[in-house]
Assembly symmetry: C2
Homo-oligomer: 483 residues x 2
């Protein structure tokens, strides 16, 4: 038996699993809230540490920490509401048409130890105590986080705060651990006691890990959120009516956080009649200075993707690197803009839809909406798609909207995809390759569903039933009785 930190962490998680799974909603919610409170108490130090490692700046990082603690508390509320347990009780029915129906009770039980691969671009909200961790805890699953190497000190600090808070709150040892290094992550992913893994990051990294999860002796669910180019369509009428407003909104969304968002609108469809709109966007982008990226490895990946896109046949550079040399600009590249027509875009296939993680936009001009609609079904799966159009056009855009919705997890109308609200109705996911598990979300309260598995109890005595299925309903959860 291995004594590596990864093996120890999964073993500890496995030992803690039954205690978490059976903890009452009040207790479990208390643990989540304790972590939220502790992170708030350490806000100043955490934000400072995060800024030193990510260059994201205190405003953004303070906001992100708020999002993170809010998220923990929102999941705590979900735990207490208990609807996600989907408790169903079918009482015996001797007249059931297929033969006497026994007493059957079903709920969603906690899956077991979950491995979370932290993301680089959300050092709080998709990292150590971020959404994946919070939703797994809410489900009643212990968590092992594989730290992102982009912010190691912050990861350790956040983990220490969380561990202390959990210990003070009486949570089981093993409910949470941090491991570091790629090797440790893979080792944890291969550990027989692991039940599921969640990942936010690049397509290459995510697909490699998904394969490891699938090739285990016992395959486990792998929830990978791999990013996308988030197409935005501007209708002819919208381009005419409010080109400046659209240009302003687009530039803001594209360059926010140095473009380092999985919902960054990297692909913009505009009418070919609206040449002024492209110029307007380029002019505004020219005013945006380069912003430091998360690290040299991100900047160099960005430069590579940007080069590949710029070299595609039919793609012209509207706004290239500022130094004019065509080489990259270090770790703080200024925004860029490329353009192509619909024919060139279509001819390039999936290469034109490669995610370029940073402040680069590809504008594709189309002649009419029907031509544009015909290419939508061939788009790779996307986290989001957006439609900018005039209210008067809505009724006529049904089939385009339907086509876009069929290729994404979230469809927006006259809004920009960055800034993913944490709510009950949020869906942050989408068809492959945007994610490896299109039926799930990694943001919003429905994220908890990833870490549950239904179990039915047939004719079992009350003593042996889990609390959500008992007649006296000690957890006070919603029970769907006999349909």
């Amino acid at each position: 038996m291995s004594n590596t930190p990864a093996a120890e962490a999964v073993r500890a998680a496995s030992a803690a699993a039954p205690h978490l799974a059976s903890a009452s909603p009040t207790t479990r919610a208390g643990w989540l809230r304790a972590v939220a409170d502790a992170l708030e108490a350490e806000r100043a130090v955490l934000v400072e540490t995060a800024d030193a490692e990510t260059s994201l700046g205190p405003v953004r990082l303070n906001g992100e920490l708020t999002r993170t603690t809010f998220q923990l508390r929102l999941f705590a509320d979900e735990v207490c509401a208990g609807a996600f347990l989907d408790a169903r009780i079918d009482r015996p029915d001797p007249q059931w048409p297929t033969g006497p129906r026994p007493d059957l009770r079903r709920y969603r039980a906690a899956l077991g130890p979950v491995l979370v691969f932290a993301a680089s671009n959300f050092p709080f909200a998709f990292s150590v105590a971020g959404g994946d961790t919070a939703s797994a805890w809410a489900a009643g699953c212990p968590v092992v986080v594989k730290a992102h190497p982009g912010h190691p000190r912050l990861s350790r600090r956040t983990a220490a705060v969380a561990r202390q808070a959990l210990a003070d709150a009486g949570a089981p040892e093993g409910m949470f651990s941090l491991v570091e290094g790629e090797e440790a992550g893979v080792e944890a992913l291969r550990h027989p006691a692991l039940a599921a893994a969640a990942f936010t990051g690049s397509q290459r990294g995510g697909l490699a890990l998904a394969r490891i999860a699938a090739e285990r002796e016992q395959p486990i669910p792998f929830y990978g959120e791999l990013g996308s180019v988030n197409p935005v369509v501007v209708s002819p009428a919208a381009a005419r009516a409010r080109g400046q407003e659209i240009a302003e909104g687009y530039v803001g969304s594209l360059t926010q956080g140095a473009g380092q968002f999985c919902t960054n609108p990297g692909l913009l469809f505009v009418p070919s009649s609206a040449a002024g709109l492209v110029e307007e966007i380029a002019a505004r982008l020219r005013e945006v200075p380069g912003a430091p990226m998360l690290g040299a490895w991100i900047a160099s990946g960005y430069a590579d993707s940007a080069r590949r896109l710029a070299e595609l046949p039919g793609v012209r550079t509207v706004l290239g690197p500022r130094d004019g040399s065509g080489t990259d600009e270090g770790n703080a590249p200024a925004p860029r803009l490329l353009a192509a027509d619909l024919a060139a875009f279509t001819a390039a296939g999936e290469a034109a839809c490669e995610e370029c993680f940073g402040p680069l936009g590809l504008v594709v001009t189309y002649d009419d909406l029907a031509a544009l609609a015909s290419v939508v079904p061939a788009l790779p799966g996307q986290l989001t798609a957006s439609l900018h159009a005039e209210p008067s056009e809505a009724a006529g855009l049904g089939s385009l909207a339907e086509a876009l919705a069929s290729r994404c997890g979230r469809l927006l109308w006259n809004q920009w995809p960055t800034g993913v609200s944490v709510t009950h109705a949020m869906q942050h996911g989408g068809p492959f390759p945007a994610t490896t598990a299109p039926a799930t979300t990694s943001v919003g309260t429905a994220a908890v569903e990833r870490f549950l598995r239904p179990v039915a109890y047939q004719s079992c005595p009350q003593d042996l039933l889990p609390p959500p299925l008992r007649d006296d309903n000690p957890w006070g959860v919603p029970q769907r009785v006999s349909g």
Copy 2:
């Protein structure tokens, strides 16, 4: 573009998909009920055809057809209830703690064309118009069924009845097709327009298909139900108090339908103090004549598995083949019984848990419940696990019940696992390798969840929203508003 029947079927399904997805609940439910009515009207011919091809007998087959039409109607009711759409509406909230919340609406949309691999052992209920087909239709997905070669005439007849009923009811062409042959099944599974596949059958076949689904350019969900040995534990007190009743129940469950159920209780744990119970079971099994199996290929697979189990170290044959020769007994083998102690069972590892699809039981004797409980965590994933014990023991069996529940999809108390009721709270699934998708069920109304994918709409005008998310709620579905 290929013109094979499989390609045509998936293309037709793909063309029908948007029409099914947008059909109102009343319309969609009407299609399911039309198929149910048509099958009822053809009952005599269908049962006769089924009996000629499967030897399952008219009593069982009539019951199974009733189950099948009931299932279609139950899913029709689910469609009208609409709860599975999980419609959520978050109204705008300028005070939302993470920043102004936009109007967000989320529901589960139909996934698209579904391929169903029909099973041999349920020629109605898990075949052409069985549970997988009914639940996919309920979700709004067109279905291509790959017929099982064990009952080709019945498959064609059922398909013809269903197609005619759907056409008469005005359903879109392409909502349902039948293809035949292994090659056609694999071709359909590889078709780019396919969105998901469901399978009921052997572990070997299921895992091979699961791999094909995973290795597609766009991987798709593969819901494989691969069977298990369904461990049954008899407590010492129960063995003392009602050994005869338990022996009778066990023999009935083990030999029902020639043992050809995925929930067949192939593994029985009894106290070593209850030697009489094993004798009692053997004596009763000896009275059960051989019953014809579904076909020669099933009988020969059964004979092979039986031989492998019997040859494991420490396994003794209590009741072998009736002809005394040790060879198989043609297509109607009589029940067999093997026995081993817990140490031999443990030493054999997973080989002792190989599913033997037919009337063979392996009895494992244990010295005390604590020793038994310690081996439970190492059991492969199971569809069911059962506990036969006295009511007075219940309070003391909590940890054993919990361990069993953690390895299965359904835990039974003093009942037998065969006879899976179709209800709201049924769970027919379980950890790998019992299924390839432990978070889902293939029986009961929750089976519809396999064929849905959440999509969110942000700030979209009413005109562009799917009906379940509109303010006027034209489908009258439950909407969870602002949490």
